[in-house]
């Protein structure tokens, strides 16, 4: 579903991404993790067609991101970190706009259902400029779901969401993946995403440190009991303070049973 071969992206003489390659099949959920400035957002923006790659071949659903850009846009949704919205439109108008742009038929019922699931109905007539960060995130995610994309790119989608919002989002990601949607989920909240991801792409300094299934990552770092431990092992980073004991065995169990 997603095929990236030898992706390079330069900003001036700064190599934001160097030689990134990976492939994901329908239904895969890939956790894109790495330190700040690792090139995660650049990789996602390039896949979304918002930034042109310097070199490399990118394919989404068999289509070339550069050549078939319009068809790729129709099949792919990208929700950036702190998504920009049209602040002079209401939440409902935003859904109408996206339905119009993507040609979603009978979108009203679907919009209502999405607004209901993300607890946006009370804010339907509110200007998006007056919403909190979390609410704006929900509007952007809801709008992306509206046209049923085949590929979902979510950049830090959990930041700012309330606990019910996080639960609804992660549940919806699982459901969409089960129906064949490929998801790339970038987040620093490793404990939150470790139960959802089937694959992990660890990036550092614009390069891939690890790409494979979560089981593969576990095999490579057998000492790691959580995704966070594996992340530190894969990136070779050390922290001065010990990990926080959360105290909920279920969280670790999720990683172990993946």
């Amino acid at each position: 579903m997603i095929q990236v071969d030898d992706l390079h992206k330069l900003y001036g003489t700064t190599a934001a991404v160097s030689g990134v390659s990976f492939a994901l099949a329908p239904g895969d959920i890939c956790g894109l993790v790495g330190p700040n400035g690792a090139g995660k957002t650049t990789t996602m923006r390039t896949l979304a067609g918002l930034t042109a790659p310097t070199s490399g071949d990118l394919r989404v659903d068999g289509l070339c991101v550069r050549r078939d850009s319009i068809e790729v846009r129709r099949r792919l949704a990208y929700v950036p970190d702190d998504p920009p919205l049209f602040d002079d439109l209401t939440v409902g108008q935003h859904f109408d706009l996206i339905a119009g742009l993507y040609g979603v038929k009978d979108h009203v019922a679907k919009s209502h259902e999405l607004m209901r699931s993300f607890d946006l109905l009370p804010k339907m007539n509110a200007l998006t400029g007056s919403l909190s960060r979390g609410m704006r995130q929900k509007v952007a995610i809801g709008c992306s779901y509206l046209y049923d994309p085949r590929v979902l790119l979510l950049d830090e989608p959990l930041t700012g969401l309330d606990p019910p919002g996080i639960r609804v989002l992660l549940q919806s990601i699982r459901q969409r993946a089960a129906s064949g949607v490929t998801v790339i989920l970038s987040s620093h909240l490793l404990a939150m995403i470790q139960h959802v991801c089937t694959h992990v792409l660890v990036m550092q300094s614009g390069q891939v440190e690890f790409f494979g299934t979560t089981a593969g990552l576990r095999i490579r770092h057998p000492e790691a009991t959580t995704l966070e431990d594996a992340y530190f092992a894969a990136t070779g980073q050390t922290v001065a303070c010990p990990p926080i004991e959360i105290g909920f065995a279920a969280i670790d169990a999720g990683w172990a049973t993946t």
Binding site: T13, A48, G49, L50, T54, S55
Partner: protein, 546 residues
């Protein structure tokens, strides 16, 4: 979508316009608007119709000069996003499954309302020159629309250039602009015939501008606007008029097509520049930077901070200045170019006639300080509209924050004034009292100018590069308002000179009281700005993004 956005924005704009804290400023703005319309009507009623040929040349030449300005600006400013789209437009419209042609059409369509209003304002002034009102409006609209298309093309070209290409573009367009300015100044000096009277200078300037706009080179550059201005101004039969309109409309459509073509070229060229650079990095010709930490440039800027700025000084004023200083270092080239033009203008009276006296230079400096310095040095509240919440959270009193924001641009303006006055003193002999009076009053005027600019901005805030009807009306009103203020200041100064002359007060009183009066006004304006900043509600008052 555009209509909904416009409706929502208008509703919110009206609410903000009539909110109690802005009522006074809004009434003043409406007063100015009334004055503008009244003046326009009076001009139309009293002025003789201009020669159609001369007017056509002026109009098309003026558009060409404006186009040159857009290319110079695009060459020097930071590259914009694709087609100048806002982040929201980039995320939702550019990402939508629509073709590039549709995207360009959408972008051009968003500029129609503001272009229409501009057209109406200009058409009001030119109404008596045209044979038909609708032809004048249509012709002017198409001319301005093509100019907007050229602006977007200039930005697209600039955004895709390599560093060497950018240097070449800057050099070429700056050379063109300088040659234009030199022509203008030479013609102005020639028309002034040694007179340095402000009215004679203004007349000389307008004649020089007209001649420059109608010179051969500009006439060639103005070719895209020939048909439009001919259609707008020249009387002709219905068949010819229809033909002219069709030709003018075709040129406008061609301009839209050119925007789409340049946009595609820009994307491809950017791609080519990047690929070329990647090859150079692989060959080892240039070094790729991997670290996203402190670059050489930022390290240099931090080290170049004056010591006073790095220390904790006056409740954080020093720290705020330090931040401004970094911006000044980074944009020093643009700032120097922006201040060079007013410097040349201010020194022109004394260059034309060595006996002109410092007061003529001071008058031009006052105009520059009030009208040109604030747009050239936007390193205060105006560039922090997206960080207002952050500024509000800082542990600084409103007065300290206001001083911290406006101090460095004010000091730079004062340094510029002193430099110009110094050059004037080298060129001709000036009494010490005149120098003291000029520098004292002008430095107070600099404080007043920046404090006023920020007070107005905080009362009617807007985002950088914001477009639309409101911005256009705002710019016109601000210009008129500042012109009126300048007239009041000049009038007060003349009144003060008369009073001193009448009572035969000494020079010390004249100079001292003049300076004190200017600084009292400046201090009051700073206090008023601090008060407005104190009352600024970042949630309610921050303008919405497009």
């Amino acid at each position: 979508m555009s209509f909904r956005a416009w409706r929502s924005r208008t509703r919110r704009g009206l609410e903000r316009l009539f909110s109690p804290k802005r009522l006074f400023a809004s009434l003043a703005a409406f007063g100015f608007l009334g004055l503008y319309v009244f003046n326009g009507v009076m001009v139309v009623m009293t002025r003789r119709a201009a020669d159609p040929d001369a007017l056509m040349t002026w109009m098309s030449g003026g558009m060409a000069v404006y186009a040159i300005f857009h290319f110079v600006r695009a060459a020097w400013q930071e590259p914009e996003s694709r087609l100048g789209l806002s982040p929201a437009q980039t995320q939702w419209i550019m990402r939508a499954p629509i073709g590039d042609g549709a995207l360009v059409t959408y972008r051009m369509a968003t500029m129609i309302p503001a272009t229409l209003v501009k057209t109406c304002l200009v058409a009001t002034v030119l109404a008596c020159d045209a044979s038909s009102a609708w032809r004048l409006v249509a012709g002017l609209f198409l001319s301005m629309f093509v100019l907007e298309a050229i602006r977007i093309m200039a930005d697209s070209i600039s955004a895709s250039l390599s560093p060497y290409g950018r240097v070449a573009m800057r050099t070429a367009w700056t050379a063109i602009a300088i040659s234009l300015a030199v022509q203008l100044i030479a013609r102005m000096i020639s028309h002034a015939s040694g007179s340095v009277h402000p009215l004679a200078m203004v007349n000389a300037f307008s004649m020089a501008a007209g001649e420059t706009a109608s010179c051969d080179a500009i006439r060639v550059l103005a070719m895209p606007w020939w048909m439009m201005t001919q259609f707008a101004i020249t009387p002709s039969g219905p068949a010819i008029a229809f033909g002219q309109f069709a030709a003018a409309g075709s040129i406008a459509m061609l301009a839209v097509a050119c925007v789409a073509w340049v946009d595609r070229w820009s994307s491809r060229h950017d791609q080519w520049v990047q690929s070329d650079r990647l090859v150079a990095i692989r060959r080892g010709t240039i070094q790729a930077q991997r670290s996203l930490g402190i670059t050489n440039e930022s390290r240099k800027s931090l080290w170049s901070l004056p010591l006073v700025c790095r220390s904790a000084w006056m409740q954080g004023v020093g720290a705020m200045m330090a931040r401004q200083w970094v911006s000044v270092c980074r944009y020093r080239g643009s700032i120097l170019v922006s201040l060079a033009v007013p410097a040349v203008l201010s020194l022109s009276p004394i260059v034309a006639d060595r006996n002109a006296g410092l007061l003529h230079v001071a008058a031009w400096l006052a105009v520059s300080t009030l009208l040109l310095a604030p747009p050239a040095l936007k390193i205060d509240f105006r560039r922090d509209i997206d960080r207002i919440g952050l500024l509000k959270s800082l542990p600084m009193t409103p007065l300290a924050m206001t001083i911290g924001q406006i101090l460095l641009p004010t000091l730079l303006t004062i340094a510029f004034q002193i430099l110009v006055v110094g050059i004037a003193c080298v060129i001709c002999e000036v009494p010490l009292t005149t120098v003291v009076l000029c520098t004292g009053v002008l430095s107070g005027l600099a404080v007043f100018s920046f404090a006023l600019e920020n007070a107005l901005f905080l009362t009617f805030p807007h985002r950088p590069k914001q477009e639309g009807i409101a911005m256009m009306v705002r710019a016109k009103l601000m210009f008129l308002g500042k012109g009126l203020l300048l007239a009041i200041l000049a009038g007060s100064f003349l009144f003060w000179l008369t009073v001193c002359g009448h009572f035969q007060w000494g020079t010390i009183v004249l100079v001292g009281m003049g300076i004190v009066a200017m600084w009292v006004v400046a201090a009051c304006t700073v206090l008023a700005t601090a008060r407005i900043w104190h009352r600024f509600d970042s949630r309610l008052d921050t303008p919405i993004a497009a």
